[in-house]
Subunit: 220 residues, 2 copies
């Protein structure tokens, strides 16, 4: 919710305070050699499924932690990630539409970062609000999902233009929906030229090796 009458001064002040906390978080992550991802997507695009697959594949190589934000007390996502093998913390945003750096700072108090090489922050399912809030992560990753349709880059340009990697999930559904990959990619390329992307199916496992290799290559 953006209170219109006071939006600009209030939000700028809050965002600036948020950015300071985010910078402190990143410094703490760097001191521990922990690489962090801010994972964003629509509700149901597959954030938790991607985390499950990622943790399962990488946990024998190094420790992974996960912080999950949801608008309610339902902690299914953190529980799924925990079962996959990541130390997981659930944040209830109490209806807020995005995560903020102060929430991440509080959650990190429950995670001993020493030894954790990868931290995945699962943002609230939302293609609008999370893009405005720095969390201290090193990269922002967006998941687009085939059944959402090929028009999403055009309709949510701030989200698509502000990320460093794009996972295109649910490619196993391509035969059953109307999705023009060329149109989708044109929209992405216009907003975010050269954006690295990973077509995957978290359901079947297709394409995940390329994503995992990219992830390994990012680690400090």
């Amino acid at each position: 919710m953006n209170p219109p009458s006071t939006r600009i001064p209030v939000v700028e002040k809050v965002l600036s305070a948020n950015d300071r906390i985010a910078a402190e978080i990143q410094a703490s992550l760097d001191a521990n050699k922990t690489f962090a991802i801010n994972l964003m997507a629509s509700p149901g695009a597959g954030k938790t499924s991607l985390i499950e697959r990622t943790v399962t594949a990488l946990k024998s190589e190094f420790a992974v932690a996960m912080i999950n934000g949801d608008t309610s007390e339902a902690a299914f996502d953190a529980e799924r990630s925990q079962r996959a093998g990541a130390l997981s913390v659930h944040i209830n945003t109490s209806g807020k539409c995005h995560l903020e750096a102060a929430m991440i700072r509080d959650a990190l108090a429950q995670i001993p970062l020493a030894g954790v090489r990868l931290l995945i922050i699962e943002n609230v399912g939302n293609l609008v609000c999370p893009s405005a809030w720095q969390l201290g992560a090193h990269v922002s990753v967006l998941i687009g999902s085939i059944p959402e349709g090929d028009d999403k880059p055009y309709k949510y340009p701030r989200m698509y233009s502000g990320v460093q990697a794009l996972v295109i999930n649910k490619i196993d559904l391509l035969p059953y929906v109307d999705f023009d990959m060329a149109r989708f990619r044109r929209g992405v390329e216009t907003l975010n030229p050269g954006l690295v992307s990973f077509p995957v199916s978290c359901r079947t496992g297709e394409g995940l090796e390329t994503w995992l290799d990219w992830l390994r290559a990012q680690l400090p």
Copy 2:
């Protein structure tokens, strides 16, 4: 975005001003015997597809108008609805995550309500923020989508608890995804007992007649 430090007083004041405009809108709709729906959903759940189907089916019976809110200038949804046969107005929220009553008031200046029996307001694709803003519509309708997963009522309780009807779209994808309808329905029933729901496929047309009959029965 919710500026945390000033959230409660500022937002309450803005919401109260918003509610006054919403009440004026509803009075104007009632004077013209126009029934209005606030249609909400995640990005890509099928809001525009449902509107296309609805307009195509009903336009021989009465005039339908549509107001569409998106975070960008991309007016695809209003264009699709216009082609289907509804007088359509696009609102660019310029990054805002929801529609507000004042935006609807401005859009209605472009729609001659006399003769329009059904107005569909297509909100920004977002399962969090739109639920807080009254727009003057008579009912709020939510679209849930099968590929989003069966956990959405549990994770977005404010959205699921605040609507008067639920369309469950993309049932044609049920054979290809993991979706437990009983779990989904338990979540809905807990939040919103007796909520009327319409399982449909906007792609194949399945289930739409029941939705259309319900809609006809709502008209003044």
